[in-house]
Each structure stands twice: as structure tokens, then as C-alpha cells.
């Protein structure tokens, strides 16, 4: 009997130091306020250019913050945060799959793990439903439900089903099995990569499509974060709104985008002649039990996530050459991120450059981990460290080499990428260059 492909590979499969299959990345795709595609984004990112701009999608008068990293060149119909997210996810995933040259058109040979924003009615929808004069004379939700029962609004259902974005993507790319939709807030993108990595390590899959997408710049989204005092109020000029690690930082800038990665069993990818962009050498998590929006003051959970990621990847702190920061630009996050990294990396941190892509693209929330994974791999591949821009006033309490304002060249083998979510979900990943 002829052995099946994975049986052949299982005999000569490259394993990591913990005897698990090595997980490679063979395709990346990205879309942000800086543009569509890896090349365009990377050029802007290493040039230190900001993609943040004044919001024009809806009136912002009266709001304390009016800057965002909107992706305005994709206008899906009907417009909703879900349809924007799906459109961006398709763009990013298409780019990643084309680069990976994997499967055949419409047939991706592995599962899909996707992080998308909440499926919910937006005010425009509620107002439409409420404005229907159905003669019932009812008000409130009774009126909305009466309109809903008419069946005339069934086109909104794709906006309301969490399974919808994953279904659209699964059909489009022909992924295998039940697609998995997940949310760990601002760590979601990294979680999607972690789930793909785990499936390949377990031998349950030889490849995985991992996507994070977010298109939620809408009035209620802005107001919600504004009420939590989480958004930057440095509105003028817009490109200076995001100031991670700077003393005068006062919040993050909400942004849209998508990142997609094709993960593969390293040996299978090599055998088919795929170009290896890098390795997911490990992921680590730790949840916070302190507060819904604040981390435990001693940093236990963030420290745990960083330490667990290093442990899972079996790398020592001194092997980390560069850190892709969560670096949101909120006073709390950046202080705690520094504290946590100091606790794990110690003095080594003084010689470890760290920069925040969010200084230029803003905080793409659900997508952030996937978007920043793409840029982490570009950093490994090109040896160029993108800067943290708007770093005019360093924070004396944050002693970090943030690659201020101007890119830098350097040899990078291992990158630590941090993602810390509202709600206490912390996930960190270690990406590495292809094994020599």
C-alpha cells in the first residue's frame, strides 16, 4: 500500500525542541489605512508615514476624538461594520493565499480561523426599522419586532449572524471543515494564529488560514471607547494623534484593517517548494482577573502571557531581537507593557528595540494581532525595524528603545508580538526566521 503524504512526512518531519511539528508561515496579506497589500503598507510603514485622518464617514461634531484609521477605499454594499470587515478579510486572505501558492483556486487545504467584530444592528439599521409606518401604532422594540416580522428586512441577517463572515470566507476560499470564529478582543488576531498553530502542531491539519479583520469605525463605536476615555484627543494634526510610549500620549486611535496568514506544517511546505516567510515558534496566554478594562497593577497577566510565549517557543529573553509592541498609546497600556516586559526580559530589554505599528496605522482592534504579525514577518524578512512615530516627548518612566521616529536596520531572527485585550485576554506570539 502506498503511504499517504502525511505519513511520509511524519517520518521525516521537522520537529521543534518539544517534539512538535514546526509551523511555517508561507503567505501574508494585509490591508490598513495605509493602503492595500503588504508592499504598499510596508513602504509607508518604514517611511514613518501615518495613515490616520479626519473621519469623514459620519459627522463628528461634539465628539472629543475625530481621527481614525479608516479604510475608505473599500465601500461594500450594504455598508456595515461586518460587511467592511468581510471585504477587507477577503482582500488580505487573497493576497496571502496567492503568495503561498497553496491549494487550488477556491480550495484551501486546511481550516479557517477568523476573528471578526460583533455582529449587531447599527443605528442606521435600527432607524430604518423604526421608521417603517406599519400602522400598528407601536413604539420601541415592539415596533422594531413588528417591522422585523414582515420579512422585508431579511437582508440584514448577514449583519446579525456571527457565523456569517466565516461562512462567506469559507465558501470564497474553500477552507476545510467548520470555520472557527473567535474573539479575544484586541488579542483576537493573535488568537487566530495561535489556533492555526495548535491545529498543525496536533497534526489535525497541515495548513490553516488565519484572519483578523475589523471595520468598526462608526458613531457608536467611537462613542463607546470615548466614554471609556480610551481614545486619543490629539486631533490636530490627525497624523500626530497616535503617540505610543510618548509622555503626552492620551489614548489610542481607532482604526480598520485586516491581516491574514497562511500557516503550514514546515516540512510539508518545504516539500512542495513553498517560500518560507518565517516560523510561528510559540504563543502564550494569560487572562487577567483584576478589572474589566485595567490590568492587575503588578502586571501578573501580561507578564504571564509574555513568559508563556517565550516558554512555548523555547527561546530565552536574550534571543528576542525585536518586539512588535501592543503599544496602543493609552497611558495604562504602554506603562503596563513596559513594566511587564521589564519583568520578563530584565536588563536585556535595554538592548531590545520595540516599536508600535499603531503609531501609524492606529489600533485595528480585532485585526491588530494579525496585522502586526504580518509586519513582524516583514521585519524578519527585510531586516528593517519600522519606527514608532510621534515620539517627540519620551516618557521618563518608560525606558524603552522605541525606534523613535525613524526606521532602523538590524538583523532580526526572533520577534515577540504582544496583544493585550480589553476584558483581560492577553496573547503573545513569537515569530522566527526560517531554521538554518
Amino acid at each position: 500500500m502506498i503511504p499517504r503524504i502525511h505519513e511520509v512526512f511524519s517520518r521525516q518531519e521537522l520537529r521543534d525542541s518539544k517534539k512538535r511539528p514546526v509551523v511555517a508561515i508561507t503567505g501574508i496579506g494585509v490591508i490598513t489605512a495605509l493602503g492595500a497589500g503588504v508592499s504598499e503598507n510596508w513602504r509607508a510603514l518604514i517611511a514613518g508615514r501615518s495613515g490616520l485622518r479626519r473621519i469623514t464617514r459620519f459627522p463628528t461634531d461634539g465628539l472629543k476624538s475625530n481621527v481614525a484609521g479608516t479604510v475608505d477605499y473599500i465601500v461594500p454594499a450594504p455598508a456595515s461594520s461586518v460587511s467592511r470587515s468581510v471585504a477587507m478579510a477577503i482582500e488580505a486572505a487573497s493576497e496571502a493565499i496567492v503568495q503561498a501558492r497553496i491549494g487550488s483556486p477556491g480550495r484551501f487545504p486546511g481550516p479557517l480561523f477568523v476573528a471578526t467584530p460583533p455582529a449587531e444592528l447599527e443605528w442606521a439599521h435600527l432607524l430604518q426599522l423604526y421608521g417603517v409606518n406599519n400602522g400598528s401604532g407601536s413604539t420601541g422594540y415592539s415596533q422594531l419586532l413588528t417591522a422585523g416580522r414582515s420579512g422585508r428586512w431579511s437582508h440584514l441577517r448577514s449583519t446579525l449572524r456571527f457565523a456569517s463572515p466565516a461562512e462567506i470566507l469559507a465558501v470564497r476560499f474553500g477552507t476545510q471543515g467548520q470555520p472557527v470564529t473567535l474573539c479575544t478582543a484586541c488579542a483576537s488576531g493573535t488568537s487566530s494564529i495561535q489556533l492555526g498553530m495548535e491545529a498543525i502542531r496536533r497534526g489535525a491539519a497541515q495548513s490553516a488560514l488565519c484572519i483578523g479583520a475589523d471595520g468598526t469605525v462608526h458613531p457608536e463605536g467611537m462613542i463607546r471607547f470615548s466614554l471609556l476615555s480610551a481614545l486619543s484627543t490629539h486631533n490636530d494634526p490627525p497624523e500626530k494623534a497616535s503617540r505610543p510610549f510618548a509622555r503626552d500620549r492620551n489614548g489610542f486611535v481607532i482604526a480598520e484593517g485586516a491581516g491574514a496568514l497562511v500557516l503550514e506544517n514546515y516540512s510539508v511546505a518545504r516539500a512542495r517548494g513553498a517560500r518560507i516567510l518565517g516560523i510561528v515558534s510559540g504563543c502564550g496566554e494569560k487572562a487577567d482577573d483584576y478589572h474589566r478594562t485595567r490590568s492587575r497593577p503588578d502586571g501578573t497577566a501580561m507578564i504571564g502571557a509574555v513568559q508563556n510565549a517565550l516558554d512555548d517557543a523555547a527561546v530565552e529573553p536574550e534571543e528576542i531581537d525585536y518586539i512588535n509592541a501592543h503599544g496602543t498609546g493609552t497611558p495604562e497600556n504602554d506603562r503596563m507593557e513596559h513594566l511587564s516586559l521589564r519583568a520578563v526580559l530584565g536588563d536585556r530589554l535595554d538592548r531590545t528595540p520595540i516599536s508600535s505599528n499603531k503609531s501609524m496605522i492606529g489600533h485595528t482592534l480585532i485585526a491588530a494581532g494579525a496585522v502586526e504579525a504580518v509586519f513582524s514577518l516583514m521585519t524578519i524578512g527585510t531586516g528593517t525595524l519600522p519606527p514608532t512615530i510621534n515620539h517627540d516627548v519620551p516618557d521618563p518612566e518608560i525606558e524603552l528603545d522605541v525606534v523613535p521616529n525613524v526606521k532602523r536596520e538590524g538583523k532580526v531572527r526572533n520577534v515577540l508580538s504582544n496583544s493585550f485585550g480589553f476584558g483581560g485576554q492577553n496573547v503573545c506570539a513569537v515569530f522566527a526566521a526560517e531554521p538554518q
Binding site: 481550516p111 449587531e120 456571527f162
Partner: protein, 414 residues
């Protein structure tokens, strides 16, 4: 995703259910559910229905909870809406049952997997804003004038899907990791599947997994009614709605399980309810017959066709057609063998719990196996046949009302 089941001999670690937290319209905890479902008497239970409050939609309302018993701090209670109260409460029951609650080291090493949908909106605020907008006349909502004064930050936190998990961590100190899955019924299946696979592969030792649904919400009803998924006639059992087009009756449910590696459970002397020998899922395109074919493939990977002795089925059928009819056709056909295993659509009694539905089914399966008996028929139409045979395996099915198929097999621990 699909993968080989890690049944006995599959090389994986055995996965035990060592804790169950179950809340519904029928009551709080395992004994209440066993009694209310007629486990001892074999008398069909009377479903608890709220017919008036959300008419024309019947719902199964949550039993009254004394939140102080599982969420001791008032400040925590205030930061959550009912959906999160139910979930955090059920999670606490599961941890109590497993003997984990209060053990700081073990809690900190327990992983969390939650199935969630949209968080809850403050419907009163929505209604106020809609009226204000209407008074302003046609056109856009003057959002920036109205929303900032109407929305509360804490409410926003109640709306975030991942905040049920966040609150479970805060209240019960379960912090090893925290993942939230979405996708309606598939969220629950993905949560159980992910937890079981991580335990079976040796990646982790203990996982708290589950979900919650607050059915008593106009915003939830609106979301599902826009898809024409709700049953809006007087209550009927799940199998008995097809001649009127079908539909689901939402049920408030909280269902959490502690899933633990056998060696870990034995080392700490934990008492198991049952073992999970396999969880599988897949996606069909729901063209004619596709859901049944997909379900059939999954089931026959867990249960050898013809080998149905001692098997019982807890169906997660929602009542939405045509998938409910497709599932019933499959379960009562010869596809699985000539012996018909007893089938119970547990949603008839609990209502449909959407994200929490599959975890609730797994919980009821583990409960029945630990009791050494099955539930009486839940319908009046005779589709579900009585049985006095003791089940030693229970198959739990989860056919999503729109997408996704999943199954789990649980076995008695002798």
C-alpha cells in the same frame, strides 16, 4: 474543524467531565434538572414558558437566581447584564461541582473557553434614542448629541462578546487562558471541541468551557426574527413545529463544564460524571440533504453503524426547518443501523440556547450517564419513544439553525 476523534486507543489523554454547572427555566444545578426532567419518575416534564412578556414569541425564562451565591461582590453584579450573570453563575456552579472553586493555584491553572454571541444592549436606552431621533425628523440620527449622554461605559462592556469570559476570570479567578468562540450554535461546539482537543493532546490539564443565553431580551429576539428563525405561535415541542414552518423557542440557559485530563482528575481525587470520547464538527452548504449527509458522516465516525447497543441520543435540534426535519430523518433512518436509539430533543424542555445549547446537551448527557438512566420522552407526539434501558453511551447532536453540524459522544465511567 474536523479531525480524527481521539477516542480510546487514539493515543490521546482521556477527557473527563469533572464539573457541571447548569441553569435554565427548569432550575439550578444537576439535581434540579434531573428531577424536573423526570429522570427518576420517567414522567414527561412540563416546560416552563413565558408566553406573554414577549408575545407573540414564547420563551423559557431563567429560574430566579440569588446572584450573591456565585457573584458575591455587588460591584461585579452591577457591571454585568443578565447574559453575563447567567454565565458567570453557571461557571461558578461547575467550578464548585469540580472542587476547583477557592483553590487559587488550580483556578489559576484552569483554562477558560466561552461560547458567546452579541452582548446585551440596554433596550430602554435604544427605545429612548429612537423616539428622540423620530422627534428630530427624517434623516440621520444626531448620534453625537444623543448617544454620549445615553450610553454608559459599563453597558458597553456588557455588550462585548468576550466580556462573559472576562467576568468569569474576574469573579472566579480562572486565568490560565481565555478564549471566546462565536458563530451561534457553532460557538458552543467550537468551545467544547477546542477544550477537549487541548486536553486530549496533553496541551492543558483542566478547562472550564461553556456558554450562556439570556432569552428574555428584545434585542436578541429582534436579531433572530430578522432572519425569520423564531417560533411565534403557542408553544409546541421541538419536533412538532414543522407543519407551521418551524422556528426556535429561545431558552435562557447557562451551561458550563469542567473538562479534565483523567490523570489530573485522579491525582486530585476528582469525581467524574462521564468521559468525552469524541467531538467532531463540519460545515455543509445546507443544500437539500447536505446537513443530514454531513451529520451522518460525523456520527458514523464516532459510532460504528449497527453498533448501537446502549446508545442514546440527545438532539440539539432547534425546531428551525428544514434542518430539524433533516436531522430527525437521519436519526430515525437506517443510516445508523436497524435499531433505533432513544432520542430526546432537549430543547423541547430547556428551549434553544443557541451558543449555550451544545454545552447544555453535553451537560445533560454527562448527568444521565452518571445517574445510570435516560430521560423520558419530552414530546407528546410519540416521536420520542420511552426506554428503561440504561445508556452507556450518549450521542449529543448540534445541527446549527443556519450553519454547522457537530456531534459529541460521551461514555459512562464504570
Amino acid at each position: 474543524m474536523t479531525a480524527m476523534p481521539m477516542t480510546n486507543g487514539g493515543g490521546g489523554r482521556e477527557v473527563w467531565v469533572t464539573g457541571i454547572g447548569l441553569l435554565s427555566s427548569l432550575g439550578e444545578g444537576l439535581e434540579a434538572h434531573w428531577t424536573q426532567l423526570g429522570g427518576d419518575t420517567q414522567l414527561a416534564p412540563s416546560p416552563v414558558i413565558e408566553a406573554a412578556r414577549f408575545a407573540p414569541y414564547p420563551v423559557h425564562p431563567m429560574v430566579a437566581l440569588d446572584l450573591n451565591r456565585q457573584i458575591p461582590r455587588r460591584s461585579d453584579q452591577r457591571q454585568m447584564e443578565a447574559w453575563q450573570h447567567i454565565g458567570v453563575y453557571a461557571a461558578g456552579l461547575a467550578l464548585d461541582d469540580a472542587g476547583i472553586k477557592g483553590d487559587a493555584a488550580l483556578s489559576s491553572n484552569t483554562h477558560l473557553v466561552v461560547a458567546a454571541g452579541s452582548g446585551e444592549r440596554d433596550t430602554e436606552v435604544d427605545e429612548r434614542i429612537l423616539e428622540l431621533a423620530k422627534a428630530c425628523g427624517e434623516g440621520d440620527l444626531p448620534a453625537n448629541e444623543i448617544l454620549p449622554s445615553a450610553l454608559r461605559p459599563t453597558l458597553f462592556l456588557a455588550q462585548l462578546s468576550n466580556l462573559l469570559a472576562g467576568n468569569v476570570s474576574i469573579v472566579h479567578n480562572v486565568t490560565a487562558s481565555s478564549r471566546t468562540f462565536m458563530g451561534e450554535e457553532m460557538a458552543g461546539i467550537a468551545a467544547i471541541e477546542n477544550a477537549v482537543r487541548r486536553v486530549a493532546s496533553g496541551q492543558v490539564a483542566v478547562v472550564l468551557a461553556g456558554g450562556a443565553l439570556n432569552a428574555e431580551r428584545n434585542d436578541l429576539l429582534l436579531n433572530f426574527e430578522l432572519g425569520s428563525m423564531l417560533w411565534s405561535r403557542p408553544y409546541r415541542a421541538t419536533w412538532e413545529r414543522s407543519d407551521e414552518g418551524g422556528g426556535f423557542v429561545p431558552g435562557s440557559i447557562g451551561a458550563f463544564l469542567v473538562l479534565e485530563a483523567r490523570d489530573h482528575a485522579e491525582a486530585r481525587g476528582a469525581r467524574p460524571h462521564a468521559r468525552i470520547t469524541g467531538v467532531l464538527s463540519d460545515r455543509s452548504d445546507r443544500t437539500f440533504g447536505a446537513a443530514a449527509s454531513s451529520g451522518s458522516r460525523l456520527i458514523t465516525r464516532l459510532v460504528r453503524p449497527g453498533d448501537l447497543a446502549g446508545l442514546a441520543v440527545l438532539s440539539g435540534a432547534s425546531g428551525v426547518e428544514p434542518v430539524t426535519g433533516d436531522e430527525l430523518g437521519l436519526l430515525t433512518s437506517d443510516a445508523l443501523g436497524s435499531i433505533r436509539p432513544p432520542i430526546r430533543a432537549y430543547g423541547t424542555a430547556l428551549g434553544h440556547g443557541v451558543e449555550a445549547h451544545f454545552p447544555a446537551g453535553v451537560a445533560l448527557a454527562a448527568l444521565a450517564l452518571s445517574k445510570g438512566a435516560f430521560y423520558p420522552p419530552l414530546d407528546a407526539a410519540g416521536i420520542e419513544c420511552p426506554t428503561l434501558a440504561k445508556p452507556d453511551r450518549i450521542l449529543v447532536t448540534g445541527f446549527g439553525h443556519w450553519r454547522g453540524e457537530g456531534v459529541a459522544l460521551l461514555e459512562e465511567i464504570v
